[in-house]
């Protein structure tokens, strides 16, 4: 197994085919990376909204309770 090019510059150029090969590779890798990053983003976004909802609800309940107790005080 040998490195097929004399330099990295030549590998980038690929005897004139470089633009084609590298566009294909980079676009594909970009799409593949997007396929992995997107679910990760959504994953954390969902967890965040759930915890926000929970906090809001807890707060709501607390206010409700405190309102009840203050009424009892009267």
């Amino acid at each position: 197994m040998t490195f097929q090019f004399e330099s990295l510059q030549q590998m980038w150029d690929m005897a004139g085919h470089g633009p084609y090969v590298w566009t294909a590779i980079l676009v594909s890798l970009f799409v593949m990376g997007w396929l992995l990053v997107r679910p990760l983003q959504q994953h954390s976004a969902i967890l965040k909204t759930i915890s926000q909802q929970l906090r809001q609800r807890e707060q709501c309940q607390k206010e409700h309770q405190s309102a009840n107790t203050s009424e009892e005080d009267k």
Binding site: M1, T2, H17, Y20, A24, V31, L35, L36, P39, S51
Partner: protein, 257 residues
Amino acid sequence: MASARNWNWFHRMGSPRWFYETTGRWLPWLWVLTISLVLTGLVWGLAFAPQDAKQGNSFRIIYLHVPASFLALAGYYLMAIAGAIGLIWKMKLSYMVMKSAAPIGAALTFIALFTGAVWGKPTWGTYWVWDARITSMLILLFLYLGVLALQYAFHSQEAGNKASAILALVGTVNIPIIYKSVDWWYTLHQSATIKLTSAPSMHPDMFQPLLVVIVAMYSFYGLALILYTRVEILQRERKAGWVRELARQAETQEPAK
């Protein structure tokens, strides 16, 4: 009793929570495996495999084109089978897998088409020819888009799942017919100047890296599918206690960072 035990695994597998927790343990390994395989395969293919006698360096696109086409087609069958399991056994997890497989499959089909077009330019002097395989791939993309569009057209998650499962199944019956007819149509109209069939035997030095990227693509597909399915699970089970607990934990961890 015995039969109950035999079916236990099946029901456990149908539990979204079980899936979420088990795959959570696999994920780090799968990330490492995927990234190392993709890197190895691509570096090997791009830098160390010998260049093709006729096509020169442009043939190196094969190292993404072939695995992507492979998984694009296999992914459709996976999606249809998951849909069928959902319809027959009313297994929610199965629908989630089906729903996750659609965008991944569509993206891979796009990659296959795009790399094919870019490969075509230096090799045959044109980005697009109405070749049998290219045309079939384009139709496959349309089939994926149909499933995706149908899934999101319904307000009701359940109706969307069932509808796209049926559509995926109808598509599976049709795929061989479509492929055969496109093949026949192509031989009818084929002009002699362009022949896309590759050389029957490939040099081992070229073939070995191809094998590596195919395995890498399978691993990538598994990883992406698991990630998407986990998102689906959180979305569907957001009222369940364990998901709430998870959300609380994630919240307490975040400010610490």
